[in-house]
Symmetry: C2
């Protein structure tokens, strides 16, 4: 809190709302790079007794039911930590005092530093970081429609993620490039992310080789010694439990490797209420908490103090079809409740800017807006899928990406402090305005108008007639023009040629070795 207040104070400019300085290329007049600090206190739907009741539920799940860990090394670590590991199954039960002690080892706040140290991020406290859309199999744009992802579309979306200052971290693949064989996909994709961007990158925890390769590539791209890489967080992963109550081998294996090297792991149960978790929100959050803490206990046993994040993905399903729904009232409350639980355990929170809509229309916009306000009011520190997500995560939309960046910037502007000096309260200017009958021409206005308000790059505020004469373009059509202009002017951030050569040589060698094993 003190740190956050200091940061806020540092960013504040006297006499007005800051953050309106324009920077960037010709395509978009955007806000400068910054780590948003949430200004408001969190919205807390649970009383302290409610938090204690859900904590007790989670502890009962860990004590009485237990979690299946499908990984022998993980079970050995948990046994060493004092967990009750069933010798005849994968079931692990946890005493609550042990859980508390292990979770207390995790930091509540840490940094991650990419190859460009100016793009270092702080996770925790009142920081809110935006991560681009991750993992859809499909992408779409207005010109080419919906299609399976390829390396070209993957690169396009990586470039958009680098371009927008409001995207702080490069998440999983913004679309799966199915034209690259899975055995070597991670090599090409992480190389592209490291070359085309200079922000913190993610790697998938999908078994041994992919994670080891990714760590080596991040080390090379950063020009780091192994000790420097291990010395502080440089990258991150996210693992999902197989809800209810299972942690699977590939994700555990990757997470454990990253934890050993001090890299960030987010543990995000996939607890859709009514499907993989109870139909009650309190039950779903209790289960989510148990699954997340079980993973965090393991990682803290492996490397005490390693950076971890509690992930929330609890939403409801459409009880008619079983389809997941996002940006719903239940999603909002689940996210805020997750924030309360994360703060109770002293952990940063990850949530998502999610929607269920099938096209970038009004439903997509209100579902995403509701999700974003849940993330902000719930104090989510990492907002996954912050830009580009459609169809419950099955499609990355170029236009939605641009639309989301507009609303992300608005939330950043919303979090700027409000000026309250005597000049801000402006009694003298009001006396002048009373005489002039308008404020446009006043010196008080002229001194401030350029930075007084957030200026959008996508919203169209012209009157109907002017808008109609200019073609009556709807939001996705305007977004379409913007992403084309961005890709047209995109330039990759500078990289030392020697480093690039080393990176390419590593990729070539690992491809020659066959990459990661696949069963197809």
């Amino acid at each position: 809190m003190t740190d956050a207040a200091t940061e806020t104070g540092r960013r504040k400019r006297s006499g007005g709302r800051s953050g309106n300085t324009r920077r960037g290329g010709r395509a978009v007049s955007q806000l400068p790079w910054q780590i948003p600090q949430i200004l408001d206190n969190p919205t807390e739907p649970l009383s302290p007794e409610g938090v204690a009741a859900i904590d007790n539920g989670a502890m009962r799940i860990l004590e009485e039911i237990g979690i299946d860990f499908l990984h022998e090394e993980a079970k050995a670590h948990l046994k060493a930590a004092g967990a009750d590991v069933d010798p005849d199954s994968n079931r692990v039960r946890f005493d609550r005092a042990m859980v508390r002690a292990m979770v207390a080892k995790a930091p509540s706040r840490f940094t991650i530093t990419p190859r460009n140290p100016d793009h270092q991020v702080t996770v925790g406290g009142r920081s809110q970081l935006y991560v681009n859309v991750s993992s859809p199999p499909n992408c779409s744009d207005l010109d080419r429609g919906r299609r399976a992802g390829t390396r070209d579309s993957f690169r396009d979306l990586v470039k958009l993620s680098q371009y927008f200052n409001c995207i702080h971290l490069m998440g999983g693949y913004p679309v799966e490039p199915v034209d690259i064989h899975p055995s070597i996909r991670h090599l090409d994709c992480i190389r592209d992310k490291l070359v085309l961007t200079d922000k913190v990158v993610h790697c998938y925890s999908l078994g041994t080789e992919r994670v080891e390769d990714a760590m080596e590539m991040v080390r090379i791209a950063g020009g780091l010694t192994q000790a420097e890489f291990d010395g502080s967080p440089r990258m991150f992963t996210n693992i999902n439990s197989t809800s209810p109550l299972i942690h699977d081998w590939p994700m555990l294996d990757g997470a454990m490797r990253l934890a050993k090297h001090g890299q960030m792991v987010s543990v995000t149960p996939f607890t859709l209420a009514g499907a993989m978790a109870p139909v009650t929100l309190a039950g779903a959050i209790a289960q989510q908490t148990a699954e997340a803490l079980a993973g965090i206990v393991l990682l803290q046993q492996i490397n005490p103090g390693c950076p971890v994040v509690m992930g929330s993905f609890t939403s409801n399903v459409d009880m008619k079809s079983g389809a997941p729904a996002f940006g719903t009232p239940e999603y909002m409350r689940a996210t805020q409740m997750s924030g309360q639980m994360a703060r109770f355990y002293g952990l940063p929170l990850r949530a998502s800017n999610a929607c269920a809509a099938n096209c970038p229309d009004a439903q997509a916009a209100w579902e995403s807006a509701f999700s974003l306000w849940a993330c902000t009011s719930g104090h989510a520190n990492l907002v996954y899928h912050a830009a580009g997500w459609l169809e419950g995560g099955l499609c990355a939309s170029y236009e939605k990406f641009v639309m989301d960046c507009e609303t992300l910037q608005q939330i950043m502007a919303y979090n700027q402090p409000i000026g309250l000096t005597e000049a801000d309260i402006a009694v003298d200017a009001i006396a002048e305005g009373m005489d002039a009958r308008h404020f446009f021409g006043l010196q008080h206005t002229q001194d401030r108008y350029e930075t007084a308000f957030y200026g959008p790059f996508l919203s169209d505020w012209r009157n109907y007639e002017t808008w109609a004469e200019a073609g009556a373009l709807q939001t996705p059509e305007r977004a379409n023009r913007i992403w084309k202009a961005i890709l047209e002017e995109f330039e990759a951030p500078p990289m030392d040629p020697a480093i690039r050569e080393e990176l390419d040589a590593f990729v070539a060698r690992r491809k020659a070795e066959g990459g990661a094993p696949t069963d197809f």
Copy 2:
């Protein structure tokens, strides 16, 4: 607070989220009529010192600059109240102690009762009421495009307002019917509102005759004696100051007449920052506060204890074009700051679900969602323009009306209490779910699935393929089908034939007398 907590308690059902009972006709499966109670504490961007600073600014405006009242009777009342009335101009200055004393007479909470007492509303506390769109000159729908309002479109939008349970009050004309001469427009329109709806109705404060006619018609429709009408609030009006710092004759005259009869008046300054108010938010809110309190002092002098509401309409303008913007970060903060000021003076707050977009697309949806979250986090008691508004208020959209009702319902569902019983935390169900590997079939789920989650009537949660096969309808196209189905099945609420006859006779007589004078 205590009252609100009691109401919340009364509405709570054990073991789950209530409010999902379906009611209504075939067109829409909607939530039942209810007075939403905001569950969360308000978001307060101002510290107590900040509130005091803005209060001090407002008091300095009232003391040092003053407000022009363009109405002799109003000036006489204010002089009687102890204000400093300049004999050579319309300027009135107010001592802050007098302002405090007069404003303290206003109730912080009151009811308004329409002809159907089941549709009584409570204004104040944690109640949040939704008012349909008011006063656009134009309307639009996907079939007929944008056009000037007529009595037919006026009636259509009144019917939609009656149909949706989430619309609690009938605001000003949802579109101006320009095919009715202004001298008699109020007679036809208020008759239509009173016959086609049984909810609380608004009348415009546009001079003497319109207000007197409207009060008489509301009295007749309610089957009330004059004493019964005067005895408690039955209707409402809203007046806007001519910012900066002027209260005009027609609005003052109407407001004073309604106040004399104990009817509700909302005083809403039109303080767009940078145009009619300072470019700084703190300055715009100080001015808004001064203008609103000046009107409220007048009404409390005329009828101490009469129901009044502090209105907020502060937003920013596009500094390039001067066009008003809505649903912006500044609009959100202004609304929350207004809520703090209203609570400081013990007054209910009115704000709006506003947007600047020119069509019911994604921009309209996110601007409206941001506005609605501002209203909810700022504890707005009356949300004007809650459904149907586009183009900064210049157009009422049939499709947007339906879309807004979907999001209003979601905010109502969001405000349902969260169940925290042992059955809600559901450790036993989680043990069962662990064995079954899914929760759909559990008894715990079966017992709750029908009411566990909010069920939308407009959002489409089907997967892409199913949605595409069904025609890939975007949100406005689906909303288009819904309003047609509603208008198809609409039935006016019952009205005693004798009352209807009396109402029609009154309208006929007043038309014969020429209605209200106009200067054209």
